[in-house]
């Protein structure tokens, strides 16, 4: 760095434009952002955007694995896929939606507890919320097989409290089993994505100025009203990003349905997986995947518009 400041050198003679002439920043400097963006954006274009194009083209191909596939603009694949697998779509959205609502109901008190009530325990509880991440989620999901095992303590307790009678009537469980029922799958989904709900909720709750609560109390709001009129509205950004971070991955998940469910609880992820990796019917698999993407994107867009928070990125 030292040698570059040559103040003894004569001033540059011709490079400086005369007064009045408009200067432009050197081209090299104007290109800096593009060089910074290039590798990463190229990566996303080639390995994220381009694959979607390939998938779109695959979805309208016909043929077989032996003879090869050709683009024949066979849109009927979509109708066939929808007609055959709409129960799995409905189930996916239903399970993911239920899990999201449960995550919100379970996660909000905990996030509130960490943000306002934990005091010196705050960091410890935060670590405990993040800690499960450190164990492979597949191992943790398998642990639910033990927890919900037939004849186990949890199932026994639910039975004794007659909860199973209710869930049986609702069709969530069957007989004295929880495992291999919709309830087990939703329970697994809720568990898996709960931290993704808690963390954004905590972040937005933590930002709330404690004096706002005092101001609300001062202005004749009861604790419940304070929550309804002040705390909850202010935590909306966390609610929105938390629900998105829960719903989106849950809707495409097939691990919980596979490990904790049965053939009657298969979600659309399971179908895509088996079409792609076992049946090798690529056009159908591609169409299924595309429909899922479209449904999720439309729902998310509508949701974000309604919630009015577009600056999530």
């Amino acid at each position: 760095m030292t040698g570059t400041t040559t103040e003894a050198a004569p001033p540059p003679l011709t490079t400086a434009p005369a007064a009045g002439e408009v200067r432009k920043p050197p081209t090299r400097r104007r290109l800096v952002p593009y060089w910074l963006l290039l590798p990463g954006i190229l990566w996303l274009l080639v390995f994220f955007a381009l694959p979607l194009v390939y998938q779109a083209s695959t979805s309208v191909q016909t043929g077989s694995l032996e003879k090869g596939f050709q683009v024949t603009w066979h849109f009927a694949t979509y109708w066939d896929a929808l007609a055959e697998y709409y129960p799995q779509y409905v189930r996916s959205l239903l399970y993911a939606g239920t899990a999201t609502v449960l995550c919100l109901l379970l996660g909000y008190p905990l996030a509130y507890l960490i943000a306002f009530k934990a005091g010196r325990w705050r960091n410890l509880i935060l670590v405990l919320v993040i800690a499960p991440f450190f164990t492979s989620f597949l191992i943790r999901t398998l642990a639910w097989k033990t927890i919900l095992a037939d004849g186990g303590a949890v199932v026994g307790a639910l039975d004794a409290l007659h909860v199973l009678d209710v869930t049986n009537w609702l069709g969530w469980t069957q007989g004295d089993r929880v495992l291999a029922t919709p309830m087990a799958v939703v329970c697994g989904l809720t568990y898996n994505f709960l931290p993704f709900m808690i963390l954004p909720l905590y972040t937005s709750l933590e930002r709330i100025d404690g004096r706002l609560h005092e101001a609300a109390r001062d202005l004749y709001a009861s604790p419940a009203t304070t929550f309804r009129k002040v705390t909850f509205p202010l935590s909306m950004p966390g609610v929105v990003s938390g629900t998105l971070l829960t719903f989106i991955p849950a809707s495409g998940d097939y691990v919980n349905a596979e490990l904790l469910g049965s053939t009657d609880t298969k979600m659309v992820g399971n179908v895509i997986q088996s079409q792609f990796l076992r049946v090798l019917d690529y056009p159908t698999a591609a169409a299924l995947s595309f429909i899922l993407m479209a449904v999720v994107l439309i729902m998310v867009t509508v949701y974000i518009r309604r919630a009015g928070t577009e600056d999530l990125v």
Binding site: M1, T2, T5, P11, A19, G20
Partner: protein
């Protein structure tokens, strides 16, 4: 880095320098020479282009047109790290991850100075922070951080020190103290200081020369007393202190003293202090500072000596502020006229509602062109917040 060339420096010369962002012109082509060794203030409301001008001198902003010279050297194309110019940033921009010692040593180290210990020690002593060397910036108070920022820049012996609102984050008392401190340091080291501020009092206390900027242009340039006594535009008249501006028509021109009529009365002012045409029949704004005006109750109008400018009116408000009392007077010539009276002998009749006569020495009157907005520059209080 050859430090010997620094001391031989020279004036800062801005030639036709301007800055536009898209269609917005932050600074209109500007000619400005800042004499070596002077304490120079760029004064104006926020958004007037003063900071942009400063940043162009620092090299942090590329001018759209024009050149920057330091002495004979054209530095327009030099990046900031090659200019013998250092900056004390607004809110200081101290490196949070480095100790006070390393903050101050930063410039020396980048220039490859091997043994910085003595210099940094001396500099920290100069700003009375020798015992804080190993602390982090966030552990220091605002005033201490400000001194670190000054030390960090001064240790490099720059040809020019740029100060961007250096006292803006300090409370009033500390600000006063630091104003004197900065002035002392400047006198001691003899480096050219260019100081950007929106605080007219700060500019007037510290600077030898003040350039008042407005809308990307320099409105007026001069010594603080000169600017105050002889404002050339309504903006300067209102922005620096307070002025009573009264619309008037010239009755008698062309002599040494002009006679104008305002609100039915006649006022005189020296032709030499009039910035507009002095021909009879022309319109102008007659100005007088509130502290130049004396105030007597209408009953005592006879005691006013001859030869003074007079205006009649009614007190609408008065506020007692210790050393003086400020009155607001409405009269036929104008409303909201301000008068500051020293609290020597208080006349208890001077209360809101009282009929009064204002009078002052005609030599203290100045004249401005009537083609400008009469209230230009009066919003400075809101801008400063």
């Amino acid at each position: 880095m050859t430090t010997d060339t620094k001391s031989t420096g020279g004036d800062v010369r801005l030639t036709g320098i301007s800055k536009t962002y898209g269609s917005f012109t932050a600074v209109h082509p500007l000619e400005l020479t800042i004499p070596q060794g002077s304490f120079f203030a760029l004064l104006g409301a926020s958004g007037c282009g003063k900071t942009t001008t400063l940043r162009m001198i620092a090299g942090l902003e590329d001018p759209t047109t024009g050149t920057v010279h330091l002495g004979e050297r054209d530095v327009t194309d030099l990046p900031p790290y090659k200019r013998p110019v250092n900056t004390v940033f607004q809110s200081y921009a101290l490196f949070p991850h480095l100790s006070i010692y390393e903050n101050v040593a930063f410039g020396l180290r980048r220039r490859g100075v091997k043994s910085v210990k003595k210099q940094v020690g001396d500099m920290l002593e100069l700003v009375q922070l020798g015992d804080r060397a190993q602390q982090r910036p966030h552990q220091l108070s605002g005033g201490q951080q400000q001194r670190v920022a000054v030390a960090r820049a001064l240790i490099n012996h720059p040809q020019v020190l740029l100060l961007d609102e250096p006292l803006g984050a300090l409370d009033l008392k500390l600000r006063r103290q630091m104003q004197l401190e900065l002035k002392r340091i400047q006198t001691e080291v003899g480096i050219t200081f260019v100081h950007v501020t929106h605080d007219q009092e700060e500019a007037m206390t510290m600077a030898d020369q003040v350039a008042v900027m407005n809308g990307g242009r320099v409105e007026q340039l001069g010594a603080p007393a000169d600017l105050y006594e002889n404002p050339q535009t309504t903006f300067v008249a209102n922005f620096l202190g307070t002025s009573n501006l009264i619309p008037a028509e010239i009755v008698e021109g062309a002599s040494e003293d002009l006679v104008v009529s305002a609100g039915g009365g006649k006022l005189r002012l020296p032709a030499g202090r009039c910035q507009a045409s002095t021909a009879a029949g022309g319109r102008l704004l007659v100005g007088v500072r509130p502290e130049k005006i004396s105030l007597v109750h209408a009953d005592d109008a006879g005691t006013i000596p001859d030869g003074r400018n007079r205006l009649t009116g009614t007190i609408t408000a008065s506020s007692f502020i210790g050393v003086s009392t400020q009155y607001v007077v409405d009269g036929p010539a104008g409303s909201g006229l301000q008068v500051y009276e020293q609290n020597v002998e208080r006349d208890s009749r001077l209360a809101p509602g009282a009929e009064v006569v204002l009078h002052w020495n005609p030599a203290h009157t100045f004249g401005l062109g009537a083609d400008q907005a009469i209230d230009a520059g009066t919003q400075k209080v809101e801008d400063a917040a």
